[in-house]
Amino acid sequence: MIALVFDAPERLWWSFVLLIPLGIHLWRRRHFQPKSWAAMQFVLQAWQEESQKAKLQNLLLVLLRVAVLALFLFAISAPSTGVRRPIVGDESTGTHHIVIIDSTYSMATIDQKSGKSALAEAKQKAIDYVRELPNGDVVSVLTIGEFEQWIVEIPGNDFQQVAAAINEITVQSAGGNLQDVLELSAELIKRYREQDPNLLNAHLVVFTDMERNVWETIIGSEDPTVSSRSTLSDLGTLNVVDCRVEPMANSAITGLAIQYDQGAFAADVTVVAELACYYHQTSNTVGISWFLDDEFVLRTETEIGAGETASVELPLKNLDTGTHHIEARLDDDSLALDNSRWLAFDSPARLRVLCVDGAEDASAAVSLAFAPTDLPDWPVFTLTINEVEFEQYHLEDYDVIALCELDVISAFNIRRLRSFVNQGGTLIVAPGQALDLESYNSFYGGSQNGLEAGLQWGNFIANEPTEDTESSIHVTGHDIGLLFRSHPNNGISALPIYKYVEIEVIENHESETVLELSNGAPLLVCSPIGKGHVLTFSTSLAIETDEQRWSDLGAWPSFLPLIHESMRYILEQRIRTANVNIGEFPERRISMNNGPVTISVQGPDGETQEYFMEFSRDPDSGEVYAYWWHREFKKPGVYYVNYRSAGQVVNSSLVVGNLAVTESDHDLLEVGVIDEVVSGIENSLGGSGLASTSEQRGLFREMLCLTLLLMTLETFWLTRQHSGNLRGGRRR
C-alpha cells in the first residue's frame, strides 16, 4: 500500500491560487477592437467553423494553467510516496525507525573541548531521539562497522530498553561501510512490513561522524542509479545526524615490518615502524614505545610534522630462535585505537628441510647451504633421503623440500607437493641428467593437478666446457637478488654455466626470474603459489668434477648466500600469514596424520576459546587434515594458538591482529557532499524539521520538470496559434 504524504503540507494552503486562471477565464473582459471590413462573408464562415474549436482550446489552456500551478504547489509541498516523516511527540505515525549508529573506529575520536568521544555523542543523540518518538512507533538499532550487528533487531516500542541497549554500544577496531548496513536495514524493513501492515513508513536515522570511508560506497559512484542510491530511495526517509567532534591531534602507526639484514638465519633483525601524523595542535614530537614479547624494550621520540610520515627503526640483536612478537605504541592522542601495532616474526628462521636426491649427492650443496655449520643451536634441521623413500614422508612436517635431479615426479607426489606448496611450504627444484621433460611439464603445467606455476621446461642446452668458459649472470630486480645487486663484486656474475634446461616464463603468471644468463635464459625463477613458493633452478646444483658437469653453481661461494637470501625473502613473505588485519579471519590447515589435535586460542583480553575440529581427507594426497579459523578476531593484539594432542600442548604459534588504518586521517565529509545523497543534515534533534530525503527530492524534481514541460507546451501552443500573425502582419 502506497500513501502519498507531504513534508510541507502547509504549503498546500496556497491551493487557492488555482482559482486565479479560472477567474481570469470566467471573468475576462474582452476588449474587441472595432474595425470596418469588406470581406465579411469569409470572416463569418470562418468564425462559424472555428469558434467551437476555439472555445475548446481556451478551456484546455485554462486547465493547462491550473495544472501548472497545481504541480508547482505539489512539488514545493515535498511529496513522498509510502513514507511519512515522523513528527516527534505526535501520535503514532506507523513508522519503523531504524537507528543506525556509526561504531567504526574513527568514532573513538575524543573531542578536545568536551572530552567525549564521537560515539558517546552519537549514542546520546540517538537516545534522545528514541525517547521522543511517538507512542506506537517501533525502533530497531544497528551499528555500522566491520562487524555490523543488530543491537535491537526485532522492532520494539519499549524505548527505555532500546536506550539502554544503545548505551552498551562500543566502538569497533575496524572501519565499515554504510551500504552493507542499508541493505541489512532494507531486508528488515521489508520483513516486518509484511508482518505488520500498520508499519507503512520507514525512517532511517544515521548518527555518524561522516568519515569518508564509511560513505564511500554511497557517494563514490558518479552514477546515481547504482544500487546503493537505489537502496536509499527504496528504504524510506533517511536522515543524517552530524556527530563530528573536534580532535586535538592524531598520529598513527600505519605499518610495521621486519628486516633480516644479515639473512634468514641470523639472530639480529630490524623492526621498522611507519608513522603518519595527521594533525597537531601543540607539539611535533611523537613518542614511541617498543615492547618485545610483552616486555618493554625502549622508548624513542621522533619529530614529525602535520601531514607528514616518518620511519622509526628498532634493531634487535641476539634473539632467541623461534617466533616473537613486537608491539610499537605511540603516546596518547585524540584517537587511541591507531596508536598500537603488533608484528609477529620468526628469528632466527627455524626451518626443517627435506632434501631428496634423484642422483647420488645431488642435494648435497643444498643441504650444506642450509646447514653450513655444526653449531648445536643452528636453527635449521636438514634431512637427506632418496627418491624412493620420499613417498613415505609426511610433507607437512617440513618447511622446505629440495628436489634435486629427480628424473620424474609421480602423479602421487605431484598432488602432495601441490598441497604442500599451497599450504605455505617452500619447494626447491633443480634438474638432472635424466630429467623427463614431459613429467616436469606436467608437474609445473597449467592442468588442475599441476602447480600452475607458469613455467615451461624446454630443451637441454650444453656448451663445451673449457677453462675460460665464462658466463655473465644477470641479477634481475627481484627482491631475492637484493644482496647481490648491492655488492657488484659478489662473483655470481662470473659463474660458469656449461649446461642448462631452457625454461620459458609464461606471461600473465606471477613467476619472476631472479637470475638469468647472458642470453636471457632464466637460471633461477621464483614462483609464488598459494601461500608458498617454488624456487626453480635451470641447472644442476650437484657438486661435480667430471666432464658431464652442468655448472659450478652448487660449489660456487655465492650459492650459500643465494639460498639464505631466498629464505629471507620467503620468510619476509611468510610472516603475512601470522599478521592479520582486523576483519580478516586467521585460518590454518592442520595435519592430523599424527593423531587428532584440538586447538585453543587465547585473545588479547585473556579469554581462551576452544575449537572443535572437523576432520577431512585431501582427495589428492589422501592425507587427513583439519581447518580452523578464529571467529572472534575483532580486537587488535596478540592471539596465542595452542595445539593439543592427548591433552598435552604439542605445538603453539601466535597470530597478531592489527587495525586496518583507513579512518585515522579523519577525512570527514562536508555537509554539502552528504547533501547530495540526502537532502539535508540535522545537527541536533531539536525542532521539528528533519531533512527531507533523496526520494522526496526526486519526486520534487519530477514535479518541477513536469511543470516546466507543461509551461513549454503552453508557450508552444500560444506561439503556434499566433504564428500566422507574427509573420509579416500589419496592424491598422
Partner: protein, 307 residues
C-alpha cells in the same frame, strides 16, 4: 524588368491630388519603360498609314514606304481604328476598404481604369467607362475624342464615391453588366474592375451576357493585402462595409481558415470566369501599379489575347 520609379508606388500615388495626375503618372512610367502598346487591331482591311511612335509593333511597319521615304509608317486597318474599350468600375462600399496611408481598392481600380483608357485613347481608339453597384450610376460612351480622357476622369472621380445603394441584398453586380451589354453599341473590350465580393451567380450571368454579344471581357479583381492574409491578432469587432451583421471574432483563431476560404474563392472565381471565355487577373492594392500593369500585359501577350 527595368527598375520602376518610386513615384508609382501606391502610397506615393495616394499623395498625388487628383485622378488625372495619378493616371498620367502611371502611363508616363509605362512609356518610359519603352514597352509597346498592348492594344493591336486584328483586321486585315487596310485603312491608312500613320507615323510610327515608340512602342508600336514593328511587324506593322510598312517597309516599302520606309524604303521610299526613309520614314517609319505603320499600316492601319479598319477595325483597329474602331477599337472600343469600356471600363466598368465597381463603386460598392466594400471597394472603399484600404489603408490610411495608401490607396483604397476603389482608388486603385480608378487608377488602373484611367491608365488603360489613356493607353487606348493614345492609340487613337475609343474608350468609355461606367460605374455603379447593381446598376449603372454613371455612363460615358466610348469615344476617341481628344477631351474624352478629361471626361472619363471627371466621371470616375465624381461617381465612384457614391455607395448609398450598396447592401448585401441589392448588390447584384450582374444587373450592372447586363445594362452594360445593352448600352454597348458594338463589340468592345470590357474591363470589369471590382473586388467581386458580391452575388457570384448574378455576376456570372452578366459575364455570359457580355460574352454572348461578342465582347472581350476581362475581370480585374482588386483586393487589399489584408483581405488576402488577414494579418490580425486578438479580439476584433468587424463591421461590414456593406451593412452585414457585426462579427466579434478572435482573429488568431480564424486567420488560417479565413485565408483558406479567400484562396478558395479567388481560385473558384478565376476558374469559372475562364470557363465563360473571359480573362481574369488578381490585383493587390499594395503592389506598385506600373509593375502590376506590366505584369498583366506580359501575361496577356503570352496568352495571345488582344485588348
Amino acid at each position: 524588368m527595368p527598375n520602376l520609379p518610386n513615384s508609382l508606388d501606391p502610397k506615393t500615388l495616394a499623395a498625388l491630388d487628383g485622378l488625372s495626375l495619378r493616371s498620367r503618372q502611371i502611363v508616363e512610367g509605362l512609356l518610359a519603360g519603352s514597352h509597346r502598346s498592348p492594344f493591336r487591331g486584328v483586321s486585315v482591311e487596310f485603312a491608312e498609314h500613320r507615323e510610327y511612335v515608340p512602342g508600336d509593333d514593328l511587324r506593322h511597319v510598312d517597309w516599302k514606304v520606309y524604303g521610299r521615304t526613309d520614314k517609319l509608317y505603320l499600316k492601319q486597318f479598319v477595325e483597329e481604328t474602331n477599337l472600343h474599350c469600356c471600363m466598368i468600375v465597381d463603386s460598392s462600399a466594400s471597394m472603399h476598404y484600404g489603408p490610411q496611408d495608401g490607396l483604397s481598392k476603389q482608388q486603385y481600380a480608378e487608377c488602373i481604369a484611367l491608365a488603360l483608357c489613356w493607353l487606348v485613347l493614345r492609340n487613337g481608339d475609343a474608350a468609355g467607362a461606367g460605374t455603379g453597384t447593381d446598376s449603372i450610376d454613371a455612363w460615358l460612351p466610348a469615344s476617341s475624342h481628344p477631351d474624352q480622357l478629361d471626361r472619363l476622369t471627371v466621371l470616375l472621380q465624381d461617381q465612384c464615391g457614391d455607395d448609398s445603394n450598396s447592401s448585401p441584398e441589392n448588390n447584384a453586380f450582374g444587373n450592372l453588366l447586363r445594362e452594360t451589354a445593352e448600352r454597348l453599341p458594338q463589340r468592345s473590350v470590357v474591363y470589369i474592375l471590382s473586388d467581386f465580393l458580391t452575388d457570384l451567380s448574378s455576376l456570372y450571368q452578366g459575364i455570359e451576357r457580355l460574352r454572348v454579344e461578342g465582347h472581350d471581357v476581362t475581370l480585374l479583381q482588386v483586393l487589399d493585402r489584408d483581405e488576402l492574409e488577414f494579418p490580425f491578432t486578438g479580439d476584433l469587432q468587424l463591421n461590414g462595409l456593406e451593412g452585414e451583421r457585426v462579427a466579434r471574432v478572435d482573429a488568431g483563431v480564424i486567420n488560417r481558415k479565413y485565408r483558406a476560404l479567400v484562396a478558395e474563392f479567388c481560385q473558384g472565381l478565376e476558374k469559372r470566369v475562364r470557363n465563360l471565355g473571359a480573362d481574369y487577373e488578381l490585383m493587390v492594392s499594395d503592389v506598385n501599379l506600373q509593375a502590376a500593369l506590366l505584369a498583366y500585359f506580359q501575361r496577356m501577350q503570352t496568352r495571345g489575347m488582344s485588348g
